[in-house]
Amino acid sequence: MAALGRVLLILGLVVALYGIGASLHGARSGQLEWVQSGRRAVYTLAALMTLAFAILEDAFLRSDFSFNVVSSASSTTTPTFYKLAAAWSTQQGSLLLWVFLLSLWSSLILFLTRNRVREIAPYATAVLLGFGAFFVSLTVFFASPFGTTANPPLQGAGLDPLLLHASMMIHPPMLYSGYTLLTIPFAFAVGALVTGRLGNEWIAVTRRFALAAWLVLGIGILLGARWSYTELGWGGYWAWDPVENAALMPWLCVTAFIHSIMIQEKRGMLKIWNVSLILGSSTLAILGTFLVRSGVLDSIHAFGASTLGIPFVILIGAMVAVSIALVTARREVLRSEARLDSLLSREAVFLFQNLVLVAMVAVVFWITFFPLISEAITGTKVSVGPPAFRPFIVPLALVLVALSGIGPLIAWRRVTAANLRRNFTIPVAVGAATCVVLLLASNAAARPFALIMFSLGAFVLASVAQELWRGTAARRASTRDPVPVAFVRLIGRNRRRYGGYIAHAGLAVLLIGVAASSSFAHSRDVILSPGQSAGVGGYQVQYVRPVEHVTNAKVSFGAVLDLSKGGKHVSTLTTTRGFYPAPNDPGLGPISDAFNGQADSNVGLRAGLTRDIWTVVNPDLTPLQSEITAGDRAFLKLMTSLTPAQARQPAVIDWIRYYRAQAIAGLAARYVSHPWPIEFLLIVSPMVTWIWLGALIIAFGGLIALWPIPLRARRRAPARGSARQPAAAPSPPVPVRETVY
């Protein structure tokens, strides 16, 4: 099957290259049959990559260790659920996943637009196939997922234990879906620039793909944060790691894009800005892929050093050069059709919000790449951490939250002072009241940025609630629907608007959680013996007893903790540290290797709406070291005493394995029977749950905005004079049927 896989990849590359040529020839000559043939090349690439990916997944499920990627990232003991995910834990498999997803989304957009944007589509097809050809060629020439060995090992190395987490199953496909979805508007933007058809058409057909990219990329980022919080054992959810930043930058950029295209759709403005944003978003997505694969920056997420850096640098350079050349060449066509009527208008707020988002991208980009820049200039790689980001990102985030509350309250084109007063009074009052209450009833004054974030968050939530209420009331006035029905139908009929408002509310909830948890967390690093306790954030944490668990895959040492407050029992938590074997390290003895591979943490967590109590154990194995060394010596002596013939006998091998397992179980039992003081990290962190809740609300809002409105409803324009307030002067006679929001 590996040979078939290799042939499918080569065929995919040939088809992609052919499709590029056919599409460009069809576009230039006007011969539709070539355009159609090019489009079929995309469908074919999708079918070939689906087959190739299925072959790879099948090899993982069958634990076929003749495939190099399977033996390096899976084993017979890897749970089936994770065998599927192991495919994209490898460089080779993740590249195949990238091109597989790219070909699927490309096929979907080209099928949906088969009778639309006919001038732009062939160029977009060529660009999409260009990306496809690039990634397939990486799997053909640099990192083949179908590399095999003639002498397969009996057992594989297994999946990196840090990846044995449910969100890791979904996180990479989500990020890759986001990255690949971003190539769709990029390709159509290039097509629009080449043809000069820079109206709303290309935006209309790709807007949902940009929104989908924003949604899945956001979900991917949050799943990564959740994994970091519950698996990595450092107690945080965001470390400003280069690979995290690599996903955040295109997300921020496409967030700006999905707002600013509304200004182009409504006013014909910001055309240069919009094409630049989407060209930039997609380039940043490729940059993110490059960062993960090249190993140029140190990251826990990266695949390590590889030979893929140079091809990616060439691709990124080509994308930047083509983008700049096309935008420069079309600058006359891209000129705005209108000007801002007023700085007090929604488009002005969107513009300001765009500037803030792009400033955030610039800050993250500069600080992320600062180590590389410093190395290039001074020869020394200066490492920067989270403190470098905060002075810039915190104030920008505060402005962003404020704007996400102001935007829904302001109309397009123009507003008057009286309207501003009417719309802002309640949300501003709620924000101010929140500020006063927190100042009087808490120690929030000690953290002014957090206090401002809470107040602005309350302002945003109030503005969104007010908008939902007023919209529902307006609908009720025209339909007499009951409130719940009017509410649901209002959102259903105006999905883009109210989906966006709900996402704004989610952002406020999320950032309130970030502000609270990062400003008011209590953390203690303590060493405890059984029976001892330590206080953190008003809670007492008592180390009750040690626990151990031994399986073929790992040895876990942990602790049962009793959590109490004011003498009252709150919860019992269990936290463990899992030690994985390092079977391929020749410097380790038969017992040592059981403890010297990777390690993972199982966090003892009590999560709640107001606070999380987060605990992790880090047992020191030094007290066991003398017995581990003695065990190594005993087993090595036994094994060297065997003749080669004896050493090959299955019964002898089983006997050695059995006694090795007994020895390891004995060491684990000693951890429980003769416990020694061990290290704990204890964190009481307020409102972390708000981060996950906020993310869910954002995703819900995004889904609402993404869901298509039925064509009939979309085409219905409002009737004159049927609003709550009657229009006073006649307007041009546009004949329409009804007004129902």
Binding site: M1, V7, L32, R116, A204, I410, V415, A717, P718, Y741
Partner: protein
């Protein structure tokens, strides 16, 4: 066996991708492209009219501002509909029917 599968895949790919080249595709009239562009503009304008109406009914636009904005939007919509008619828009519903959404 594997060779047979590879040959079958190769044949299927060749047949499928070259399919359009073995029959003449109908050419697209230039007018259709202009109509598609105008229809996109019409949809955007309808959305804008509805948004302005909703902004007015939820109190974000005063009566006076709404009158000005709505009049401008409807003028722009009518201009687009007339352009659609001029571009052979009967095929795309005609002005009145298009606004009616029928």
């Amino acid at each position: 066996m594997e060779l047979l599968v590879i040959l079958a895949v190769l044949a299927a790919v060749t047949l499928f991708v070259s399919g359009p080249l073995r029959r003449a595709a109908p050419s697209e009239p230039e007018g259709d492209r202009r109509i598609a562009e105008l229809e996109a503009a019409r949809e955007a304008k309808y959305l804008e009219i509805r948004d302005a109406e909703l902004d007015h009914s939820t109190g974000k636009l005063s009566d006076e501002d709404y009158r000005v904005v709505d009049r401008a939007l409807r003028s722009e919509a009518i201009e687009i509909l007339h352009e659609l008619d001029r571009a052979g828009g009967q095929a795309s519903n005609g002005a009145g029917a298009a606004v009616d959404g029928r």
